[in-house]
């Protein structure tokens, strides 16, 4: 009797239930606290998305971002990645997070860095470029009036139609760069003053100018690099 019990427990042990080395399911970690969000962000995201002038990609510790960005766009970017350099974070795609964790992360970031009164205020522009079709022809005019002073051949800010640059950034990324700007680095946000546009751009103008920049991609790139 005793030896049979022993055998049975040996078999359950060997069949993988309680071994440190066996295949594990993703651990259900408590992921609903803001402390979790902050630490998950610090280890996984802050290297690229930080605040102020720090960090090479769009700052996410930034109320302006959360005033405009919709959960759908944010979750999509985190789960599946965006463009060339934003990795997918969903476990199914090799990342560290379950989809529930990604949702908590987004809600957590919104409450940590979004405006405290919950104001979004960005509805007018918060439309993905996939919805408002930009008119590249109109965009060319917007660009030469509002942007070329800094980004044109004589500008000091560097080209945004450099084919190499355009191979690295997605359309969503171009749109976000134009909408959120990086005021600490001298790039105005969409609703800030810029040459010939003292009160900034309209949502349609944003879509147009992004459409025009995107149309400057080298032809063979256009399909594959579109997000």
């Amino acid at each position: 009797m005793n030896s049979r019990l022993l055998l049975a427990s040996l078999i359950t042990w060997l069949s993988g239930c309680e071994r440190p080395g066996g295949p594990h399911a993703v651990q259900p970690v408590a992921h609903d606290s803001l402390a979790w969000t902050q630490s998950a962000f610090n280890t996984n995201c802050r290297g690229c998305h930080s605040q102020g002038a720090e960090g090479a990609a769009l700052p996410l510790m930034n109320a302006n971002y959360w005033a405009v960005a919709t959960d759908a766009v944010v979750i999509e970017a985190i789960a599946h990645g965006q463009g060339r350099s934003m990795p997918a974070y969903l476990a199914d795609e090799g990342g560290p997070f379950t989809s529930a964790q990604i949702v908590s992360l987004v809600q957590g970031m919104r409450s940590l860095w979004g405006a405290k009164d919950g104001a979004t205020g960005g509805e007018s522009v918060a439309i993905s470029p996939r919805v408002i079709a930009g008119d590249a022809g109109a965009g060319a005019a917007v660009f030469s009036q509002a942007c070329a002073g800094c980004h044109g051949p004589q500008g000091s800010a560097g080209s945004v139609i450099d084919p190499l640059y355009l191979r690295l950034i997605s359309n969503q990324g171009l749109w976000s760069a134009t909408v959120y700007g990086r005021s600490e680095l001298g790039m105005p946000a969409w609703n800030q003053a810029m040459p010939n546009r003292p009160t900034g751009l309209t949502a349609q103008e944003v879509a147009d100018v992004v459409g025009w920049i995107s149309a400057q991609r080298p032809k063979q790139q256009r399909v594959s690099d579109a997000p």
Binding site: T43, R46, R84, P87, G155, S156, G158, L185
Partner: protein, 490 residues
Amino acid sequence: MNFLKGSLAWIEERTGAMAFVAPLMFHHVPRNAKWWYVFGSATLMFFTIQIVTGVCLATVYAPSAAQAWQSLNYIDTEVPMGWMLRALHGWSSNAMVVMMAIHMLQVFLHASYKYPRELNWITGVFLLLTTLALAFTGQVMRWDQDAYWGLGIGAAIADRIPVFGDQARALLLGGPIIGGETLNRFFALHVFVLPGAAIALVGLHMVLIIKNGISEMPKPGAVVVPSTYRKEFEERMHKDGVPFVPDAAQRDMVFCGVCLIGLVALAAFYGPFGPGGIPDPTLINTNPRPDYPFMWLFGAVSLLPPASETAIMLIAPAIVVLVLVAVPFLSNSGERAPSKRPAMVLLALVTVTAIAALTWEGTTSPWSPVMDGWSSLPTPSEFTKGRTPLEMQGAVVFQFAQCRNCHSLDGRGGKRGPALDDIATRLSYDQLVRQVQQGGGNMPAYGKNLDSAQTAAVVGFLSTLHPFNEPDAMTPGAQLPLPSGAATIR
């Protein structure tokens, strides 16, 4: 019973099988060869396990770059006890290397390689090399990040070969970069070529063991004199030896049994090795560590001054192999007892200690990269201000390609490679491109893992890293091949 005997006799008459096997089983071995002599058999047992589990794994494993990693996960999670199969294969591989090392050490300490067993030793040396090659190619089969970047460093070593560097690299990888070709090539080596070689060598080793007999326990004063040794040895065996079965075989069985239990316990408890992360350039593992049998080499490389690396990495292995092969020729007669060969004992001791220390060094090296540097350490604002959009993308690529895990900016980041805060004063644009694409030292070659836009961006970013008052390092003739527009920097 009669029928059984009859059919055995029928087979025997036509094949001579018993006449072949009987001497194997009943040949006389020295009576005093007690527990010292079990290590060879245990090595053979582990090899047999490797073949059996390996054949089973090969039925499920998909040797294609796109599917290898998934198929290993499939074996781990879907195939009943599949994880156990992988665990056994992995642990038994390490156990085989360890057991072989112990066996070799025992043979060396007892000077069993002296006349007439020189060739036993030499086939043993080649078995060791084949086994190590199997272990290395086996690591590649996992096709995970370790495999990927281990190969990258292997390729960088091949690159060092003077004149033929490019060809050696192409031979190793099946092309200029690590790709599907590479996996096919290593698969063929791992399941056909190397096991074939190993089986042939084991056979040869066995034939030599039967032919030359097992050496006696060394006794001080019992010197080996080649001219008379064989005759006297055979007489002693005849008079005083015991048949291999059951006397020595018993001990082999017990020891192998214990090893087997240990192996199953290790496999069950610690599970299979890897596969680590997907070998995907979006998730580059910048901390490639080889499996244990190679850890000491890795440790040694990390301690070498960079200037001597090429010479040492290419020449040292050749010298080690030559010395091992030469051992029985350097002294094939005379005393065998360790007490009469203190220098040799010391040599063995030093070698074992050195390998252990280097393995430790390889495992715990203080220059380890900061594994989450790329995703946790933001680019300091002094390096984001005044950059063009392309250079900013370069700063993103610098994080994305995990350069930060090995290189620091403003004091934060990995310390494995040099800090890059003022790299533009040291290297020109072309030199930077070369460093990124071809690696060098302990830096992996990124090659095609970064496309031309990513390379141009990251190098563009690096070219901006210099103190305000110091100029770029422009070698004469080096031009910034930046496209129009991007040249309007800062």
